[in-house]
């Protein structure tokens, strides 16, 4: 082994970072080369001196100074998203259940001859599509707070909407067939099912989107 080759490995040798074979090669060279031997001794001592440097402590007031700064600045907003995501997805799931239940409840009512307009008023909040401006008394988070995080989630849900409308189309027809309408359907009826279906699909999309976001975005 040449001096040049040895030199490039000496630093690793003093660190015990060489394989046994490499170490042996180095030692063979050192046995016959005084220049490399003294360099090795110096490198070993350098390493020792570095490792022996005293620990320098931070001055008093270091931590307080830092923590004072942090009080003035809020951490990056992502933490708000992390806080909201699990809660919103649970909420979306709960609302979807309520919506489904209300649809099942409405189903016989709609076809019992009662004007659908009344039903729409009572369940107006639920059947409004998520994109539209909901009533004031409706749930605050989904309705009012259009924070950047929520807007981001709505885009995902819009994508889901397109996918789900397709599926719901056939479902919608199915519901109307089993209704066996002896009388002609009310003019408002398709609208109600359409909006309610969209709301359900939207909530489903929202929930799924949030679920995916939560587990795959990190």
């Amino acid at each position: 082994m040449s001096c040049k080759a040895t030199e490039s490995l000496l630093a690793l040798y003093v660190d015990d970072a060489l394989t046994p074979v490499e170490s042996q090669q180095i030692e063979n060279h050192l046995a016959t080369c005084s220049a490399c031997s003294s360099l090795m001794a110096e490198l070993r001592e350098d390493r020792f001196r570095l490792r022996s440097l005293p620990i320098v402590l931070p001055p008093s007031g270091f931590r307080e100074g830092l923590l004072r700064k942090t009080v003035l600045v809020a951490p990056r907003k992502q933490s708000v998203v992390r806080y909201l995501v699990p809660r919103l997805s649970s909420l979306a799931a709960a609302l979807m259940v309520v919506l489904l239940a209300s649809n099942l409840y409405l189903f016989p009512l709609v076809h019992s001859g009662q004007p659908v307009a009344d039903q729409n008023e009572r369940f107006g909040v639920m059947s409004a599509p998520p994109g539209a401006q909901p009533q004031a008394e409706s749930d605050g988070i989904l309705a009012g707070n259009m924070t950047p995080e929520n807007e981001e989630n709505l885009t995902q849900q819009d994508v889901q909407d397109d996918a789900n409308n397709h599926a719901f189309g056939s479902g919608q027809k199915r519901m109307m067939i089993t209704a066996a309408p002896a009388e002609a359907p009310e003019p408002d009826q398709p609208n109600y099912w359409l909006w309610s279906g969209l709301a359900g699909a939207g909530l489903f999309g929202l929930g799924t989107g949030l679920f995916v976001f939560r587990y795959h975005h990190n």
């Binding site: 490995l9 003093v14 660190d15 350098d46 001196r49 440097l53 270091f62 931590r63 600045v73």
Partner: protein, 201 residues
């Protein structure tokens, strides 16, 4: 009860701001010491350490708990160090402290030490040596300095250093090798200068 780093981060991400205080408590000495050895003087070390920990605070919410917190922390410290170095490029690389003056003619050497400044007569041999080591360290190029500090002062393994600096293992090994050889030359030079001045007293 000793909570893991990752548990503290998790608590912070759930809204417990006190968790950050506990993280600082755990790491402030290591971070400051690392900053001091990288920058060579108290004031720059303070700036670097506080800046790095402040960044940790701001981005802690986005930290993925699957990774190792300390790796991420030291990566922030070294990156902040590189940033600060770039900003301060106008200053001479040799300066250990701005207060220090060296005159090669017949002036005196004034020195800033890690502790209070006792004056040249009161410096023990050991302290003198430590001072020279720091001077040599401060003259190394930034990337040689970081690997030596991480290896010999923080006692990280080669793999940990590779993680922290986002380099492959081979690069870390060759960088440490070159760093030690460069450090040898610098320390040799510092010892020679020091010997020259001691003989004059």
């Amino acid at each position: 009860m000793e909570l893991s780093d990752e548990r503290l981060v998790e608590l912070f991400q759930q809204g417990d701001v006190q968790a950050f205080d506990r993280i600082v408590e755990r790491y402030e000495q290591k971070v400051f010491n690392m900053a001091f050895r990288l920058t060579g003087n108290q004031q720059d070390a303070l700036d670097l350490a506080q800046e790095a920990l402040f960044k940790v605070y701001r981005y802690l919410a986005q930290f993925r708990i699957q990774s190792t917190f300390s790796t991420w922390l030291y990566r922030i410290v070294t990156n902040t160090f590189y940033d600060e170095m770039r900003k301060k490029k106008r200053r001479p690389a040799i300066a250990v402290s701005l207060d220090e003056t060296i005159e090669m003619a017949d002036g005196e050497i004034t020195r800033e030490l890690a502790s209070d400044d006792p004056g040249p007569e009161d410096i023990s041999l050991q302290q003198e040596l430590q001072y020279l080591v720091q001077r040599a360290l401060s003259q190394l190029p930034g990337d040689y300095r970081t690997v030596l500090v991480l290896r010999d002062l923080q006692d990280h393994s080669y793999e940990e250093i590779a993680d922290i600096l986002r380099l492959n293992l081979g690069t870390v090994k060759s960088r440490i090798s070159r760093a030690r050889l460069a450090f040898r030359k610098l320390l040799q030079h510092e010892e020679q200068i020091n010997e020259h001045w001691r003989q004059r007293d």
